[in-house]
Subunit: 447 residues, 2 copies
Amino acid sequence: MAFEFKNKDILELLLKGKREQIQEQIDDIHPANILSILREYNGDKLNLLHHFTDEMIALIIDYAEDDEKYEILSLFPSSKQMEIVEEMASDELVDLLGAIQPDEANEILDKMSREDAKELVELMHYDQDSAGGIMAKEYISVMRNMTVKETLELLRKEEPEAETAYYLYVLNESGQLNGVVSLRDLVISDLDVRISDIMHEKIITVPVHMDQEEVGRIFEKYDYLSMPVVDDEDRMLGIISIDDIMDVLRFENTEDIFKLAGIGEGESLNNSLKESISKRLPWLFVNLMTALIASATVNLFQGTIQKVVVLATLMPIIAGMGGNAGTQTLTIIVRGIALGELTFENAKRVLIKEVGVGLLAGTSIGITVGLLAFFWDQNPILGVVIGLAMLLNMIVATISGYFVPVILKKFHIDPALASAVFVTTVTDVLGFFFFLGLATLFIEYLI
Amino acid sequence: MAFEFKNKDILELLLKGKREQIQEQIDDIHPANILSILREYNGDKLNLLHHFTDEMIALIIDYAEDDEKYEILSLFPSSKQMEIVEEMASDELVDLLGAIQPDEANEILDKMSREDAKELVELMHYDQDSAGGIMAKEYISVMRNMTVKETLELLRKEEPEAETAYYLYVLNESGQLNGVVSLRDLVISDLDVRISDIMHEKIITVPVHMDQEEVGRIFEKYDYLSMPVVDDEDRMLGIISIDDIMDVLRFENTEDIFKLAGIGEGESLNNSLKESISKRLPWLFVNLMTALIASATVNLFQGTIQKVVVLATLMPIIAGMGGNAGTQTLTIIVRGIALGELTFENAKRVLIKEVGVGLLAGTSIGITVGLLAFFWDQNPILGVVIGLAMLLNMIVATISGYFVPVILKKFHIDPALASAVFVTTVTDVLGFFFFLGLATLFIEYLI
């Protein structure tokens, strides 16, 4: 008993053990562990996997990243592949089929039973990022007049997978959801009680077209283990389980962090150089455009800089601080939007607070910078110019940090995506404009 | 049946309904919904809550943020408070007691049974961010020789809370964990089978001092609904449930995003102006220090700028692009560290790739900027100077974007915390140094 199995020990077991002898030992190995061994092992991978049941291999594929799934499946001969596919949950199969070439996907679909294939094609039609795109078709439905005893017998017969077993659903003739019973409700109830007596009738459901990030928020709010997905007429279509939602939330969080840093969708640490370049270079060029705008602003004041070169020295402070203050505010706002915390009710209060932050931070940083510039250059007007420019730029920074993501959101653009570029462009351009503009106004006192 | 209850409808029910009449209707309302109604309601809150059982109020407190918990509890008279407290899970009580004044906490502890209070004080001794700090003491343990039938009878008698019921634990005489049975295992097994026959013996456990972020990663890897927490001798101390982990992951993700943007720990959208200023201003001053370093670098080359003012115009491009490329790399690395994806095995490959990105992106951006500068100023040497400076700075950006977080991690400093400041300082300072230094070298061709 230890915190985690040692992968090395498992590897040895799989390579050297005889199937009969090791069966009991490998039964409890978690598919996630086998997956990580598989990733590191450079020998014949099929040789490692031949100990496992189709069900276990289906689970290993389940835990694999989308682009690894087919790689693992295709280790096996074609007939065995179909046996594994039959053990896979429908949502996992959709992920697998979505990640491979259409002709490979069709090959697999052709070999499946017509009914299964039809169900899958239906699932594949939903937007990948919607509730329909991540739901599974497998769930247990029970009748309202069944007793707890009968239901327990049904479960013993059906042996549902863990994810499928958390809740049992009661549907009416039209397939509409009438009630839910959790496994816990079931085991704590007397055996002769009827499902209709213990089922919950007010059910929180997920509409099939809801965005997966929104679905994640509902899971976070209500702490359910799985939730039913319904169509516009409340007919039950499938379920989403919490382990899928954990993946969704991790993905969405990473995506938000990356977008804030100007990294294209879906980059990961393991991408190749070519993939990374193709995801980052476009954003660098977008940034180049905005840097050119800042540069053009400075260019307007070449004459002033020519006369007072110390201005060039102080420019990085103005741009840097404005960018930082703007990034702080925009990050707070982008995260507030992502977590659903920025609402109609608190929007005005948040805006006023951010302006307050700009005012107060701008005043204290402005005075500090002004004094530093004064002591350094012995010119009080230079201190006033940079201090005032700093104050103005910090206010601009917090205001644009607030409005840029809010406006992007209004236009249904992901606020994480372009906010940072916009805000730093605004703070660079206006920061230089305030600073060099004020310097131009007071030029006679600065020379 | 609808996607979510309308808060307005529930509010009306609670305010106007007679207890007997509405009992059945309010039984199924989710505590998270009542919490949001409570937050918005400005009248007598106690009046809304008097319909609910102590158990329900304990759940509402469970769903509340840490700083709201005591606010809700203290709506009630002192005797009722204790009844509610008795219904709360130990991990929730620890959160509540940790968020209030010590004397208020002691008052509550004094009124509890000595045994409960001792258990709580024990729990409160663990680091808030460790497994011990988020675990609950409540779990179901069963004997290995019990049958499934006997176990189901035990559950019907004990009526454990949902979170407590996912798994049943088998302990030996010393309290060490011998096996685990899931509720699903239980309901699909024959009634006369013994627990020892269906229990899993290879158990993945969480050491009590493990950091909560690490615990979150283990949950993400293995998809368990709850996990046992053990001490150094594998004695079981408590359990952590997936809903607590969802909160942990959300918190840690927000923290990482905020730290990358230079926002102090724990700021939220709802902080007051004073709180926000106190969390952001220190970082702005840190940034000011680094901006001064960049400024001092430029100052070294005042003579050069004096002679070729166009250099001042182009400075924002060098600094901006270096900062962006550095931020891209460091974000990839910080996230890779947070998700446990950056390992000893792939570290070198990732570094080489990042240098490759710097080289390729630097070359293409460098050539573009060089050509633009050439066409604009009609001076090929200016183009070469800025193009070369850009290339060098992009390589520096990706290298520092890699090493800064990796080195911070080595010194056990959260890489998200200070990486952005360090990296942009490096790219600003070296960017200006390359650009203005090269310009100084080639000054005779630039005038």
